[in-house]
Symmetry: C2
Subunit: 230 residues, 2 copies
């Protein structure tokens, strides 16, 4: 099994989801015979946030390349960024990657196609939604993308950061997120809800809405595991 490298810390709660998720999956599928070797380079999330707020994508790209180099130096054979938003700069750094990196966006699109979804509602951070990250990837693959209106993107951003990003689920915030999801589910007749932020699955569960949820964290974990055992 290949050694897995994870850029972590954006945020720490989802880093733990990836770490324990990969270990549990490996133990479950390999008769408790292998604890996967994993190296996590956990960054200072605030530096990433400042770069994102300033739209300073070259700085963000440098942070990610530096972290990927750390993972490679520590023996990682494949890598992944444990956040959606950072994938905004994917095109800027993909030619310079020192390791094969598994994209959460590409793997989510594959999963939507596998399950034959045609129209998806996308939730995520302000940076993710305003960048059109998922919209572009879905459209290219013939899947319609629905994102909240501008004011609701801002609202969703505030419901994610800082509490949910730090792993804290505020019940009233959860209610507001679900109400927003239901509004679009009724209005737009979407057939799936993409949780396009690795912390959203901490708050929004399958039982909370009446359409299938695509948990990008879990999709990504499954994909990383499959690449690691190839």
């Amino acid at each position: 099994m290949k050694k897995i490298g994870l850029i972590g810390g954006i945020g720490p709660a989802s880093t733990v989801e990836y770490y324990l998720g990969l270990i549990q999956k490996s133990l479950a599928e390999q008769n408790n015979s292998i604890y996967p070797e994993i190296v996590i380079d956990s960054v200072n999330m605030l530096k990433h946030d400042v770069a994102l707020e300033n739209g300073d994508y070259s700085v963000l790209g440098e942070y990610l390349l530096s972290s990927l180099s750390n993972l490679k130096a520590a023996g990682a054979e494949i890598a992944a960024i444990t956040a959606n938003t950072e994938h905004i700069v994917w095109d800027r750094i993909c030619n310079n990657f020192p390791l094969p990196v598994i994209s959460i966006v590409e793997e989510t699109v594959k999963e939507l196609k596998r399950l034959r979804f045609k129209k998806a509602l996308i939730f995520g951070t302000e940076s993710t939604l305003r960048s059109g990250l998922y919209e572009k990837a879905l459209t290219v693959n013939g899947i319609k993308a629905v994102i909240p209106c501008d004011a609701e993107i801002s609202l969703l951003g505030k419901l994610i950061y800082p509490n949910l990003e730090n792993g804290i689920v505020i019940p009233s915030d959860k209610e507001k997120m679900i109400a927003l999801a239901n509004k679009y589910i009724e209005k737009e007749n979407v057939d799936a809800l993409i949780l396009g932020c690795t912390e959203l699955p901490l708050a929004i569960k399958s039982e909370d809405v009446n359409i299938p949820i695509v948990n990008t964290t879990q999709v990504h974990i499954n994909a990383i595991y499959q690449y690691a055992i190839r």
Copy 2:
């Protein structure tokens, strides 16, 4: 703040305790202004277990040195092993460490001295207790060490591994551990209980026994943080 390197995965549940503990401590003490940079090299615990069972300390030492080198290559400036048992081979590798490494045993002894404890009951894995790791360190520092008898060391080992090591607290196992602690607390008149295995604090809490507990995981986290901000 220095970049922290952690040898993790022995076991994963305590790796998460260290990771989130260091981040929470840093945010709390620095007005939410710094998420510490942390690199975790999470090893295949089963390889370590086999080396320990076979008493193959040179192999175990090689594993640890290799992991420390990975941490250094990924930019770590200080390091720590997130387990007690692996400290058995400390003397074999301390001259070859490529980084300053903070010992859980040394920091625990400092804490016992700071709190003026004179006689401590030690709980830990079979390898830790049979090696005399804590007994030696305490005795050198004038603190009396009490460890369970041979049969009870075996019992305690079975109460730790595999369930507690994997973060699973079985209520009847917890009861047996507390009964064992209380037996020695009454018989030996100890003034502290050292939880000398990084998973034991998942099961044994301060309210479970009537003497102070020394949580080696927390002592270690606090010490690592202090070294990192120096």
